[in-house]
Structure formats: C-alpha cells, structure tokens
Amino acid sequence: MRSRVALRLLLHDRSSTAGSLLGVVAIVFLVGQQLSILFGLLNYMSVLVDHSGADVWITSARLRNADAGDLISGRYLERVMGLPEVQWADPLLLANGLVRTADGSFEAVRLVGLRRPRLTGGPWALAAGEGEALLDLEAVAVDRLDLGKFGNPALQRVTEINGRRVRFGAVSSGARAFQGTLVFLSLDKVKEAAATPPGRYSAILVGLKPGVDRERALARLRALLPECGVFSTPELSRRTQLYYLTNTGIGGSFGFSTSIAVLIGVVIITLTMYASVLGRTRDFAVMRALGARRRDVAVVVLCQALMVGAVGIFLGFLCLAAILNATRGSDIPSYMPASVPPLLAGITLLVSLLGSLVALRKALQADPASVFH
C-alpha cells in the first residue's frame, strides 16, 4: 500500500514529479554524454596501442606514454624472435611530418611507419581503398574523418610529406588519435621522410603464440631486455590514457563538468521533491495520525524517490541513446563501455535518494497532532 500511495501521489502531483524527473534525466543525460566523450577521447589516446593486434609492446625504458618513446635498436627484434613464446615481432616507427594539402598549405601529422608486408600496427578498418595499398612504398592511409584536413583528396592523388612524394592509397576508419592526425605509411618512407637513424624503431610489437602464459612471457621478455620498456598491450594503453588524462587537464575538466551536472540534477531533485512534500505536509500528518510510523512515511518518500529515479534513468538513457546514435560516426568522439550504463544508473539512483533527503526530513517532521487544528 505504501508504494501504491507513493505512486499515486507522484501521478497526482504532476508538475513536481515532472520537475524531479527532469533532474534525474539531466544527470543521466549530461553525465552520460560527458562520459561518452571522455571515453571517446580515451580511445583516441590509445588508439594505436589498442588496435595493434600485438600482445606485447617493447619500447625505450621509462616510457610515460606510447607516443613519447625514444628510438630503440632493431637488434632486439632478433633477440625477441629467439624466444619460444614469441610467434611474431614487428617494428613500428613513429615520427612527425608535414603533409602538403590540396591548397598548398601544410598539415602537421603523426607518421606511423609499418613494416611490409605484415603492416603490423596499421589501419584496422578501411573506408576506401585496399589494405594492400600500403605495400606500395609511396602509399599513405589517412582517416576518413581527417580527409577534410588534406582538402578531401581523391584516392591515388599525389602529395608530399616532408618533401617526399606520397600518394593517398587508402582511407582508414576509426583511426583518429588524440595526439594528432595519424598517417599510416611504410616504415621505409617514414625513415626517409623523417630521416631517422637506420635500424632504429619506436617500438617492437610482439605477438605471442596461442596458449602461452602471458605473465611468464612478459617476465622473460623483461629479463631478456632489461634496458627496454616491456608492456602488455592493455598496460601500455592504460598508461598512455592515464598520462593524458592527468597531464592535459582533460580529467579535471571532465570531472568538473560531470560534477556540475550531478550537482544541478541533485538541486533540481531536492527542490522539486521538497516542494512536493511541502504541499503534502498535511497528508503526511494525516497518515501519521492514522497510524503511520516515521519509517512508514520514510518508505513512502523513498519509494517516490526510487520511482522517479527509475523512470528518470530510463528516460535519460533513451535520450542518451538517441544522441549517441545521432553522433555515431561523426567527428565527435563518443564511446560508451558496457560497464558504464549500469554504474551510471546505480549512481543516479543513489543521487535521487540523496536529493530526496531534504524532502524526507520535512515529511518526517509532519506532526500527527497538527491534523486536529
């Protein structure tokens, strides 16, 4: 009966219920949308690492993020290949470059040099062209969302990177990075364009044999290459994300904006629920006189908060799904890990309860003796 009463009161006090719902929806929608952008950006930060297909990254020592490694010797390649756990190992060479665009201006880019023919670390999804295009020394691949920066070149259009002739050979999809515009091309072309010393690479990517104990393999690699950084792919991904998150102010700014969204939501819920209880003070006093204990009044108010919370969360996620759908594939970074919605829902429900506390306090003050006056 108490939950029924809670529902009836909510349905009857429509304007305050709508207000409380708005507060909950605001939290779910604003926080959810902020988080989706944040996770989208996090993905951008570690995009190369996450999609490398490697199990282990070998880099220079004391690496702070995947983009700031010193060049390491290619001799490590043979040493690594000598381990029984290792199935394959490929070098990756990162460098900076300037691409001449259609109108003669330049675009600063991040060159990702891939060793042919395996092209490990290369584009993992293509929007146009063939993967094999990059086997050609002159071919480069850029992301479809970055095409505009280069003046929307057609495939096979010729241009220059650091004065060296290259061709747009393929268009990748989903290969955008936080650190800059990614351009995939052959390792030899990067060496040539960026004039890196011969036989030196930014990283060595290692694939382990199936069924190999990863921890053991990592330990052996570390023992084998004490002068290098040896990371599992998830480890390097996390390290890179954490680096940018804490060193660019992104973490702080997203933390701030989500806190503000939660705060605004709580204030809306608090005010509207308080207003609703205020208008019902007499009813709560009547309930108390009829035999409701304080805890029964609390059950009614908290039921209301939970109902508003549940419906608001549902509506909020509808809105969120709509906007995420609408921006999918656009250049707004957005990604929602599967674990986030349940967490967001749980937190929002807690926050709804929190927002109802002031109202609860008021409802509990209802004096049964007051109904006689």
Partner: protein, 236 residues
Amino acid sequence: MELQLEGIARDFWDGRELRRVLFPLNLSLTPGELTVLAGPSGSGKTTLLSIIGLVLRPSEGRILLDGREVTGLPDDAAATLRLSRFGFVFQQPLLIEGLTVRENLFLAVGIQGGRITAAIRGRAEELFTSLGLQGTGDMLPAMLSGGMKQRVSIARALIRNPAVILCDEPTSSLDAENGQVVMDILKRIAVEEGRLVVVVSHDARVFPYADRLVKLENGRVVADTRPLSEGAEAGA
C-alpha cells in the same frame, strides 16, 4: 474497550511562559456510548481529544486502555496502537488527494505495510453501502461533495474495526442535513456496534445525540452528565 484518564493535564509553551490549557482531570469512557465533549473555543477540547488519541502526550497523568498504561508509549508503538484500535474523524475530511476513495480507506489499513485482504475489501464495500457511498469507490475525493467526503472519512475511521472512534467537530464543515446524517451514523456506531465514540463539538445540534455530555471550560471539566437517561433537567 475501557479508556481511563487519570489526572491528565497539559501545558503549552506560548512563547513567553508555560501555560496550562488542561488542568488535571479524571475521565472514564466506556464503549456503547456516544460521549460529547463540549465547551467554548479554547477550552481544551481538541487538546484532550488529541491526548486520548495518543497523538499528543499529556504533561501529567496516565492513560489506561483496558487497564494497561499507554501514556509513555514510544512513538512507533503509539502509532501501531492508533492503527489497530483508534479511528479518527477530523473537522475537515482530510482525505488524501490523488488516492481514490477506496485507496483512502485501504491506506488506513496498509500504511504500515499490511496487506489488503479480501476481508478488508469486503468491509470497504459494506461501509460504502451502510454510509450511502455506493459507487464512489473509484472516484477521487475531489469529485465528492463535502458531506460525502466526511462520510468517506468516517468509513476510513471504521475500516479497521476500531474499538475507539474520536471525532473533532465532525459536523462543523457540513450543512444541517449532512451534519444530522453524520451524527446518526456515529450514534449507530456507538450504540449498535458497541464502540467507544467521543465527539468534540460546540455545535448545540450535536448535544441531543449525546449519551454523555462532558463540558470543558478553561481547561477544566465543569459538567459531566447523561442527558438522555437523566431526562430534561440535565440538558445543556
């Protein structure tokens, strides 16, 4: 159920001093009677009724229900006792807007989380019939007239089959005709159903229904009569 008040008094803090609004009084109420508590405005009628109904604590004295002291009961225990033994009818019907008439009745049973049994549902329908409220069960209170609302509030007081019914000016918001209907019902509940009914009123039209008439003035009982059995000389 016997209800005994022993030396009940009540003080209120009026902002400057503690003021005694009820002086120590003894009163023993018995079932099967309609007791009217009468007296001028401010004489302490509502205060006394609130103390009897366990919603207000007396400053002094003891309340005994069937010989068991209930004066210092903790809040929750008092609430549970109200729910199981007391029915209240207020000056205004004070039905809860947003709940249907039937739900308003069920609320008085299920507010502590109790289940609405088939017996309760049946009793609600019985009450609708006996109080002339047929067909109103699914209506919202706002759709009812004042007299009907007050009858619904009587139904709400009766749904748990309480031993004690306490009414504060139940007729004062009603016209003469509806007031009479309500008093007829309360009288029947007291005499035919053998309940203990207390009606606070300063409305002279209520007095003829009184089996017992207790008059308060300035917080003291100044008369305690049985006008019906004592005849005309003991009237108002």
